[in-house]
């Protein structure tokens, strides 16, 4: 019996390393699980793109769930995500708030004119300070915030139609169930 002990040890190592490979291909290694899920969104008051005199804050968005999409004209993945935002996400019927992250407002305006503007309103976080409060570390990132101002879901990286079906729709269904 003890003759097979080394083989058994080897087998266990194969299983361990195999699991490691499987695990790392299963999820995006750049994704950090946000500690802000199911916590109130941070307070913010940011100017509206193209109209610096107007500000949108957390209070004014309460009452109805909405998406907050972090984007920038400098962000390549945002271009890839853009058609999905404009169709799949837009069709979900929730307000879509653009969070223009660390961008030149002029560049952002040009970018939106070029690709189309799927957002109901775009707020500007020029220096990335509000982004830190949201735990943003890149773009694109998307938050689902419920009517009480609680962050219910976050996606790091571009949204794909698959993400909409597998993650966002179930999150919305859970929201609808509790009447939020």
């Amino acid at each position: 019996m003890s003759r097979f002990l080394p083989l058994l040890g080897f087998g266990l190592l194969v299983v361990l390393f195999g699991f490691g490979i499987w695990w790392n291909t299963q999820h995006d290694q750049h994704e950090i699980a946000s500690p802000l899920i199911n916590k109130p969104a941070p307070a913010f008051a940011l100017p509206v793109l193209g109209d610096d005199t107007r500000k949108v804050d957390k209070q004014s968005l309460l009452g109805k769930p909405y998406f907050l999409n972090v984007f920038g004209s400098w962000c390549i993945e945002c271009v890839h995500e853009h058609p999905v935002l404009s169709s799949d996400v837009k069709q979900l019927g929730l307000p879509l708030v653009g969070f223009n992250y660390k961008d030149d407002p002029q560049d952002a305006t040009t970018w939106l004119a070029e690709h189309g503007n799927p957002f109901d309103v775009v707020i500007v976080d020029r220096d990335g300070r509000a982004g830190i409060d949201f735990g943003v570390y890149g773009a694109p990132e998307t938050f689902l915030i419920d009517g009480k101002g609680v962050i219910r879901y976050k996606h790091v990286g571009p949204i794909t139609p698959e993400v909409v079906v597998k993650e966002i729709q179930p999150a919305l269904a859970a929201l609808a169930k509790e009447g939020g």
Binding site: L5, P35, K102, I132, V136
Partner: protein
């Protein structure tokens, strides 16, 4: 001789890259700078996962360094600054994760492997000693059949 001097100077050139990588911050004194450097090597850049906040040139690392610096200037302790970042970016930002049930395997796993390995060796050595005692003359013959 002059050639050699020039060569030595050229060898110093890569140091410029270090000076360039991180934007200077207006520290009040040397102690504050040392504290900042120490703290930022204990924090991990969320974007470029294998770099410290001190080493990384990613935009988010730049912003977080600024944040850490400003909190230091505001008189916050290292623990408060770490807690601030953990609240937003999770334990991920700490190069040294806290000891808690979730990380027990991480912290004590190596010890566990050592104990299991030691146990295997102990049992094996004792068994060998016993067979050697039981049949001292037959031992060399047995050896060729041994598993190890």
């Amino acid at each position: 001789m002059r050639r050699l001097g020039l060569l030595a100077l050229l060898c110093l050139l890569p140091l410029l890259a270090i000076a360039q990588a991180i934007q200077p911050l207006p520290f009040r004194d040397r102690a504050e700078e040392v504290r900042f450097q120490k703290l930022s090597t204990e924090l991990r850049c969320p974007m470029c996962q294998n770099e410290t906040l001190a080493d990384s040139n990613a935009p988010i690392a730049h912003d977080l360094r600024r944040q850490v610096f400003e909190m230091m200037q505001a008189g916050k302790s290292d623990a408060e600054i770490k807690a601030y970042l953990v609240d937003r970016y999770s334990d991920f930002v700490l190069y040294k994760p806290p000891v808690e049930p979730k990380t027990w395997l991480l912290w004590f796993g190596p010890l566990l492997v050592l104990v299991v390995g030691g146990l295997v060796v102990f049992v094996q050595v004792r068994r060998r000693a016993r067979t050697a005692r039981a049949a001292p003359t037959a031992a060399p013959v047995n050896d060729t059949e041994d598993d190890w």
